[in-house]
């Protein structure tokens, strides 16, 4: 005792690393880090050794060789004479397309189902409970295959649309639902169509400005503007006026039967529809639960206070409950978006050419570059996930409770 409180001894002994509480945790961490690095080094070394034993090298040069295969759904032009790198890019764009569409639809359905599950109406709440439980307790792959089977087996073949075939196009002969996909009209941008689009974009900007002005006005004077009707008018009238003034520059190319298939128009392939719907329905069940928990997390007193002020139930939900619930909802919602994006790699099951099917499937198979391809694939999903979560975190910090 006297020794400890007296002149402190500065000499450092090696055993202190283990027996002195000040150093012990540091020692353990350093050892753990070294073991981790050694095992990583062993993994890499083992891979390199085994590749060498098989006579393979580690190189990404294959990306710049001719791919040689075709891809049906191309957002950017692609032919079999392009490189594997471009094939990967086409796949990446297809992945991003289905992930983006999926996130939007899943959120819409999820919020609706979550709110409806809390409905006082027994039937509505019951149906939604069934929906949520059925969706989230069965594997996603099954839903993808079910939707795809319905799309290919229950819809008519293109040749059934010929005379006497028993199938017909819907919406004034503009849309054909066949077992190869849904064919919709394609807009053709004629001369002067740029102006129409510009007017349309300007009127959308005007709608946002109008809403801001209306809110300010309400805060200052208490008067309410008929925002919805004004917005609707702004949305349609200027763009339609510009369309007719410019002499109808935008025309529609209708899908028509030609040869084996429909030609013209835009083909939304069954694989895309099946993957999109299945991903959205599956993820929406989880989002519904997140929304429900978010709403239940807002204390009952908030609702009662809003009712006491004379607010109607839907206004209460919109203005009082949901804004507070969002703070609880957003963080788990991020991981659902990440899940949806990563789950889109099940695309191969229905032949949707996402990045897993092009880079991670055909390219790997034709070039034999499994390790390089899977590394690239992993890196891609990692980057996309990081981007999504940082964007959502940014949004989260903008809606979260600001403590002052």
């Amino acid at each position: 005792m006297a020794d400890m409180t007296g002149t402190p001894r500065d000499t450092f002994r090696l055993s202190q690393l283990l027996y002195d509480a000040r150093y012990r945790s540091m020692t353990i961490q350093v050892i753990a880090a070294m073991l981790l690095m050694l095992s990583l080094a062993w993994l890499v070394d083992n891979t390199v050794q085994n590749l060498a034993a098989l006579g393979k090298d580690f190189s990404f040069r294959f990306l710049w060789t001719t791919a040689g295969y075709d891809i049906n759904q191309q957002i950017i032009p692609f032919s079999s004479q392009d490189t594997h790198a471009r094939a990967a890019l086409v796949g990446i764009l297809n992945t991003l397309l289905v992930a983006f569409m999926g996130c939007i639809l899943a959120t819409v359905i999820g919020v609706l189902a979550g709110v409806l599950r809390l409905s006082k109406n027994f039937v509505v709440a019951g149906i939604m409970t069934f929906y949520v439980e059925a969706m989230r307790n069965t594997p996603l792959l099954i839903w993808i295959l079910i939707v795809f089977a319905v799309m290919t087996e229950a819809t008519p073949q293109p040749r059934d649309f010929r005379e006497g075939g028993g199938a017909s196009m819907i919406l004034w002969d503009s849309v054909a639902i066949s077992n190869r996909g849904v064919f919709v009209p394609k807009p053709l941008w004629g001369e002067g169509s740029g102006l129409v689009v510009a007017v349309f974009l300007l009127s959308i900007a005007a709608i946002f400005i109008l809403r801001r002005v209306a809110r300010k006005r309400q805060e200052q004077t208490g008067e309410q503007l008929p925002v919805f009707r004004l917005s609707l008018a702004l949305f349609f009238i200027p763009a339609l006026l510009a369309f007719f003034v410019m002499g109808q520059p935008i025309t529609l190319e209708m899908p028509e039967l030609g040869g084996f298939n429909f030609v013209g128009g835009i083909q939304i392939r069954n694989s895309l529809i099946a993957l999109w719907l299945a991903l959205s329905l599956y993820t929406s069940a989880f989002i519904a639960e997140i929304v429900r928990s978010g709403i239940l997390a807002v204390s009952r007193g908030q609702t009662e206070a809003a009712f006491a002020l004379g607010m109607q139930p839907n206004r209460t939900m919109q203005l009082v409950i949901l804004p507070q619930a969002l703070r609880v909802i957003i963080p788990p919602l991020i991981s659902q978006f990440l899940n949806l994006t990563k789950n889109s790699s099940l695309a191969l099951a229905v032949g949707y050419m996402d990045v897993r099917s092009t880079l991670g499937g055909i390219t790997i198979n034709q070039t034999g570059r499994e390790i390089e391809g899977i590394l690239l694939l992993g890196t891609f999903y990692l980057i996309v996930s990081l981007i999504i979560s940082s964007a959502m975190n940014y949004y989260n910090s903008s809606v979260k409770l600001k403590e002052r």
Partner: protein, 339 residues
């Protein structure tokens, strides 16, 4: 210092792991069964019979290899592999040999770290369409939707064929033959393309096989054969010479019915004697028993017997021998001499 010793040990361990894979025969014999990568289901080539036993043209080669190395044609563990997973599974050592309608190409032989050891079926890629489409040539397929198995050579041939003929098509990728069949029958694609043997085998399972026609164009060479890992030459030799034994047995008219009888005493044909172990010791040179070919032929039959049993003209698949006839009958099947 310590670290470098550790890494050095690791390097040796890694090297040892690499070398360990070069003893497939010893591994198979120690295990008591052969792991054979096979098709997940293709009529005539690899399919389970009513009792759940795997049967078929490719399966018979697996059984022959098992009979040669273990003396028991039933000691095979079949690992069903898709066209995408097959080469990776072989390279990773999950199977000892791959017999799964795999085309021998330069890239696969040299870039994948694998060795093709022979050809058990000379094939070519073709197209199957419905008869009522009225198509008589593949060049009339402009704008058609084509179902294709991904991860195959046919995928590349298809792209080349349509590009060279300057006609357009829409590929619908499928992962397995079963999926391709379902899509084709549902009319989700106009055309199904794969090796002609595969088309014939698939058509054989259709309810109305007569409503479908295989177009005359053969757009590629598809030599299908067994594959082993690169680097284990002794094992490669066993697989190669088992295949040759099947071919040579047909050439010498040794069948499953008469092989025991012929092997009971030396004949006046020295090659037959060497094959069946009544003269010389060819089996020992491969590390096998001297009656290895007797085991092979008595359990699976010769090449011609296998062909007729599973894919010949009297089966639903109904393939003619064509290129796969013996060289003496104008085909390409030519066993190297057992000398």
């Amino acid at each position: 210092m310590k670290k470098s010793i550790f890494l050095g040990t690791l390097a040796v361990a890694g090297l040892a792991a690499g070398l360990a894979s070069a003893q497939t025969l010893a591994d198979v014999q120690a295990r008591g069964s052969l792991k054979c990568g096979s098709n997940e289901g293709l009529a005539g080539f690899a399919f389970p019979d009513a009792n759940g036993n795997m049967q078929g043209f490719d399966v018979a080669l697996c059984r022959a290899i098992a009979a040669a190395t273990l003396g028991d044609a039933q000691a095979v563990e079949f690992v069903p592999l898709t066209s995408q997973t097959r080469f990776t599974a072989l390279a990773a050592g999950e199977v000892d040999v791959l017999v799964r309608n795999s085309t021998w190409t330069f890239t696969r032989d040299n870039d994948l770290g694998l060795d093709f050891v022979g050809v058990n079926y000379y094939d070519g890629q073709g197209f199957m369409v419905r008869k009522d489409l009225g198509v008589s040539s593949a060049r009339e397929l402009d704008g058609a939707t084509v179902c294709i198995q991904t991860g195959t050579t046919t995928e590349l041939n298809l792209a080349d064929f349509f590009r060279v003929n300057a006609i357009s098509y829409e590929p619908v990728p499928v992962a397995t033959n079963a999926e391709g069949q379902q899509q084709y029958l549902a009319g989700a694609c106009d055309v199904y393309t794969t090796d002609i043997s595969g088309l014939a085998a698939t058509r054989a399972t259709f309810e109305n096989a007569g409503d479908h026609v295989i177009l005359p164009e053969v757009v590629s060479k598809e030599p299908l054969g067994p594959v082993v890992r690169h680097g284990d030459n002794a094992w490669g030799d066993i697989v190669r010479w088992t295949l040759f034994a099947l071919l040579a047995a047909e050439e010498h008219e040794i069948t499953s019915a008469n092989v025991r009888e012929i092997a009971s005493a030396a004949t006046d044909n020295p090659e037959i004697n060497r094959m069946l172990g009544t003269e010389g010791e060819l089996g020992q040179k491969l590390g096998l028993s001297s009656d290895w070919i007797v085991n092979v032929i008595s359990s699976v039959g010769n090449y011609g017997e296998i062909f007729e049993a599973y894919i010949g003209e009297n089966t639903p698949v109904g393939l003619a021998r064509g290129l796969n006839a013996q060289w003496t009958n104008g085909g390409l099947m030519y066993a190297m001499p057992f000398n």
